[in-house]
Amino acid sequence: MQNAVELKNVSCVFGTVHAVDHISLEVLAGEFFSLLGPSGSGKTTCLRLIAGFERPSSGSIVLLGKDAASLPPYAREVNTVFQDYALFPHMSVLDNVAYALMVRGIGRLERHRRALELLEMVKLRGMEKRRPAELSGGQRQRVALARALVNKPRILLLDEPLGALDLKLREEMQIELKSLQRQLGITFVYVTHDQSEALSMSDRVAVFNRGRIEQLDSPKKLYEYPETEFVARFVGSANVLAGKELGLDGGKFAIRPERIRIEPGRISGTNSLVGRLIDVHFLGSQTRYEVTLVNNSTIRMTVVAPAGGEAGLEAGSEVTLTWNPGSLRKLREGEA
C-alpha cells in the first residue's frame, strides 16, 4: 500500500534553532499516527511541514506519492484541525464548515447539503446558524473537525486538538476521534504532548525530543521496550539505573514501577536491592512507594503495587525491591 506521508531527512531551521533536525518517517495509509513530545520538541513544526505552513530547509516531503515540499498549503490534499480551532468568527457554523467547498466554487445548495451532513456526523445539527462565539469549547472543536473533513481529505492533521478541553470531555473526544478515524478510513497524523492520549489512540507513535525522533513504534512496544532514557521517562514513568548499581555491565537500564515487587525487611538474593521507604502515596486502586537505595541514597526508585499490600510498609522502614530480570530494559546511549 502507498504511504500517506513520507519525510526523508527533513530539517527545518529557524535562525540558529533546528526545530526539526534530519527527520525521516513514513506514515501508512489509514494509520492513526501520533507525534508525541514535550513542547519545543519539533512535533508541531513537523506537522506544519506536512501541512505546508513551513518550508523544509532540506529534505523531501512526499504526500500520497507526490512530491509536496514546494506546494503551498492550498494545493495539498491534507486538512488541519488547529489547536485554537481557528474558526472564522464572522461566519456561521454552517459557513465555516462549507468554506472549503465555497472557495472551490461549489454552489450554495450543494455545499450547504454537504456541510449539514458533516454537522450531522459530529452531532451538531441544529447549531448551523450560530456563530463560533456562541458555542462551547467542545462544540467549537467539533466544528473545526467537520470543517477540516468537508473536503474529504485522505490525510487529516490534528494539532493538539483536545488540548483546550477539560479532562472528561477530552476522554470522550478521544474515543470519538478514534472511531471516526476507523469509520472514515483516512490517515490521522496527531500531535500531542499527552503520552496517555498517544498510547490509547495511536497505531504508531513517533516520540520527539529536541527536533529528532527518539523512537518510532507501536504504543505497546514503546511502553514495553523503550530504547532511550528519554522515551522510558516520557512514555509512562520509569526507574533508570546505571548497570553498575545492578551488578551488570555498563550502560543504563530502565524498569517500570509496576514491575518491581516491594517487601518489608532486608532479604538477600539476586535481582534485588535494599532500600529505605521514604514515602507512601495511596492512589485508590494502587499505591505508590518512593524508595532510596541503602548503599546510594541519591538514587530514588518508584514502585507501584496494587492497593492492599501495605502491611509492614511504613515510611522510614527498610524494604527489599525485587524484579524479574526480563523486566529490565537496556537503554541506548544518547542524550537524556
Binding site: 503551498p72 498549503p73 481557528a86 472557495v103
Partner: protein, 267 residues
C-alpha cells in the same frame, strides 16, 4: 465620604466639559441671530434667514465640494496604502522595523507646519502647480497613519491561524484576503477611514501650504474672518461642519465597540 468626593469630581468634570463645549454652543446660537455684526447677548432676535443665504452662496458650495473631494481621495489612498503597510508590518520582525513604524507615524506627530513647508518645497522643486492633487497628497500623509493604526491593531488581535486555516482549506491568497482578512478588518477600515475623512475635512495648516489658489472649506472660514460679510453665515457653515465631522467619529466609535463585543474583548 466617598459620595461627596465623587460629587466634587462630577462638578469638575462638568466644568471641564462646559469649558470645552461652551464656545460651540455660542456658534450654534449665533447662527440664528437676527443681527449680523456683533455678538450681542442675548441676540436681539432669532431667524433662519442665514441658512437660506448660506445655501445661495456659490463660494461656500465650491469650497464644500472641494473639501469633500479632497477628503474622499485622501481617505481612499490612505485605506489602500495604510492596509498594505499594516499587513506588511504586523507579523514580520526585521531589522529596522521599529524605525519604519516611527517614520510612518511621524506625519501625525510632527507639527503640520513642518509637513506643509516640506511638501511645498518638494512641490515647487518638482515643478508642480499646487492644487487639488497636492492637497490630496498632503492630507494622505497623515490619513495613512490613522488607517494604519486601526488596521494594525485589529490584525494583531486576529489569530493568524485563521489565515492558515483558510489556506489549508484550499483558498489562495486572494480568496483568503477577501473572505477571512477583509471581514475581520472591515470595521477597523471603516473606523479608520471615517477618522481619516474627518481629519482631512477640517485640516488647515498643511492645506495652506499645498492648496495654491484653491479654497477648501476651512480655508474659506479663515478668509471669511478677514472680510466679514454676513457673519452669521460662517456660523451656519460651522454647524454643518460640526455635523459632518461628528457623525463619522461617533459611528467609528460604535463600530470599534461592536467588534469588541462580538469577540468578547478577549484574545
Amino acid at each position: 465620604m466617598r459620595s461627596s468626593s465623587s460629587i466634587g469630581l462630577k462638578i469638575a468634570a462638568g466644568m471641564g466639559l462646559l469649558f470645552l463645549h461652551f464656545p460651540l454652543l455660542i456658534i450654534l446660537l449665533y447662527a440664528f441671530t437676527s443681527e449680523d455684526k456683533t455678538y450681542k447677548f442675548p441676540p436681539p432676535g432669532l431667524t433662519l434667514k442665514w441658512f437660506a443665504i448660506a445655501a445661495s452662496r456659490n463660494d461656500i458650495w465650491e469650497a464644500l465640494f472641494l473639501s469633500v473631494k479632497v477628503a474622499a481621495a485622501a481617505t481612499l489612498i490612505a485605506l489602500v496604502l495604510g492596509t498594505m503597510v499594516a499587513a506588511a508590518l504586523y507579523r514580520s520582525s526585521f531589522f529596522g522595523k521599529d524605525s519604519i513604524t516611527l517614520l510612518l507615524i511621524l506625519p501625525i506627530a510632527l507639527p503640520g507646519i513642518l509637513t506643509g513647508l516640506a511638501l511645498l518645497t518638494s512641490i515647487t522643486r518638482a515643478g508642480l502647480d499646487p492644487g487639488f492633487l497636492t492637497i490630496v497628497v498632503g492630507h494622505a500623509t497623515f490619513c495613512i497613519v490613522v488607517v494604519f493604526n486601526n488596521v494594525v491593531a485589529r490584525l494583531r488581535r486576529m489569530s493568524y491561524s485563521q489565515i492558515e486555516a483558510s489556506m489549508d482549506l484550499g483558498a489562495d491568497a486572494l480568496q483568503t484576503f477577501r473572505y477571512v482578512v477583509l471581514p475581520n478588518i472591515a470595521t477597523a477600515l471603516l473606523a479608520g477611514g471615517m477618522l481619516a475623512f474627518a481629519l482631512s475635512f477640517d485640516e488647515v495648516i498643511v492645506t495652506t501650504f499645498t492648496a495654491g489658489k484653491e479654497e477648501t472649506l476651512p480655508i474659506w472660514f479663515l478668509s471669511e474672518l478677514f472680510r466679514p460679510r454676513d457673519r452669521p453665515v460662517t456660523n451656519v457653515v460651522a454647524i454643518f461642519v460640526i455635523a459632518v465631522t461628528l457623525l463619522p467619529i461617533l459611528l467609528s466609535q460604535r463600530l470599534t465597540q461592536s467588534f469588541e463585543e462580538m469577540h468578547g474583548g478577549g484574545k
